[in-house]
Symmetry: C2
Subunit: 248 residues, 2 copies
DNA sequence: CGACTAGTTGAACGACGTCAACCGTTGTGG
DNA sequence: CCACAACGGTTGACGTCGTTCAACTAGTCG
């Protein structure tokens, strides 16, 4: 697997490390969360982690690999709602409600689970943990807002450029690549489902970005050649990616 | 004002009633939140409540009227990110971060403010309050997800129909109209900024929906004639509007 | 070797945007 | 009280961006 090779596996003790790194949790809270994690599961590429409409009984934190949330419409079309990198909580919602999307492994992933009952107890006991979870939801909402702007008001060029910028920045932040080069385990069909444009058009726009000397994509790897120019046509401001999680 | 007439003002004691109605907060928490509310402010239609990029020092809860969150792009175009009805918290984020959008009054609005410092103290003291705020964020994220699907994968017809469905349902839930008829204080330009289509096209699609006998709009009021048919072409499922807020 | 998937290309079509003009209502100031 | 400006809505003509369909290629896996 070209993708797995790009990432060293985490030692078992640090399973939650990528998640905890984004929080300002006290040492006691970190230990309590770590202790609540059950067995680590692996899911193969393309396989479902949570079915759309299911009511999850545990919080799923992505430890390794890439996953996404996708809404399946009743005519079979799809809209990808979110892309997850290691450290992201994949169904971070405060109530046990049916998921309005499917969670799907893009690469081989490893996931940690914390049972809802345990989590509720932890939240009641520790304001810090409750706050960290809220922060995670808010961070993902901010990401989603950027997508909304992108879908609503940008040409397919700017949209694809923005997507590439976000992917490279977030993957880089998760230790996948250096912000200029990173694995891109997504097919053009995946990208089209994320951006709300047809796969054929993704292909053409991607070629144009190549011709403009902005990036190259080959065998599952992305290389951003001219980052400043790409950021410019994407209107990309990485500020929204890093939400601080200091107490309100 | 045709709009103000549609809604009786809240007595001062119940300022937070629309917000609290969606939570399962204990009586003590409700009183504590109510006590933290400062002076009630009014904002005139079209005026700004929070500037894009500002770092808010208080949580703003909409008490009366309609408001929206809008992202201003640097070429002047706009994308509306959210529509707020009474009871909605308008900048419900867990950290004091710069707002990536402008909050704007659509009608004359009345807003309640809770200072961030007070709110932080309340959250630390009460898991229930922390949870209620998280729920509010998650609810708005779910609304935003529907918009994302709408923008990404629906024709302008379905998109507009969906928007109308959501507006009538949410306004009805806030005591504005009965789900079939409600005030619609939005211009076609506003709607175009929400749906990511041009104002001219909004006009044409609206006319077609009228011709199909699905709805009528006149002088700021919306009347849904054939709700079932409208729900069908919009692919509208009101389930996502009412997220339960029972503890996880 | 054949089946399958992802990517690529061309041609034709359609949805939607843009531009420009015009209408009706409202509000304002002479 | 009227003139006029400002704004929202309406209409037509035209252009373009993106979709759809179909065919073809290249890599991969059994």
């Amino acid at each position: 697997m070209t993708f797995a090779a790009a990432r060293a596996p985490y030692p078992k003790a640090d399973i939650l490390a990528p998640f905890l790194a984004r929080t300002d949790l006290a040492e006691a809270d970190r230990r309590a969360l770590g202790a609540a994690v059950g067995e680590i599961h692996s899911v193969a590429p393309g396989h479902c982690i949570r079915e759309q409409g299911a009511t999850p009984q545990s919080l799923v934190i992505l430890v390794e690999g890439i996953a996404h949330a996708v809404r399946i419409l009743n005519d079979g079309r799809q809209q990808i709602l979110a892309l997850y990198v290691p450290g992201d909580a994949m169904d971070c919602q405060p109530a046990r409600a049916p998921l309005p999307f499917r969670l799907c492994a893009v690469t081989t992933v490893r996931i940690a689970r914390i049972a809802c009952d345990d989590l509720a107890a932890l939240m009641r006991a520790s304001p810090g943990i409750a706050h960290a979870l809220w922060c995670e939801t808010a961070r993902q909402m901010a990401l989603q807002q950027e997508w909304l702007v992108s879908l609503g008001r940008q040409s397919s060029h700017a949209r694809l450029a923005h997507f590439i910028c976000e992917v490279s920045a977030r993957f880089g932040g998760a230790g996948l690549g250096d912000g200029q080069r990173c694995p891109l385990p997504l097919t053009q069909i995946d990208i089209s489902d994320a951006l709300g444009i047809s796969a054929v058009h993704v292909n053409r726009v991607l070629q144009q970005l190549r011709k403009e000397g902005l990036l190259t994509v080959s065998r599952g790897f992305l290389h951003i050649v001219d980052r400043d120019a790409l950021y410019k046509i994407a209107n990309f401001d990485p500020a929204y990616l890093g939400i601080t999680t200091t107490l309100i």
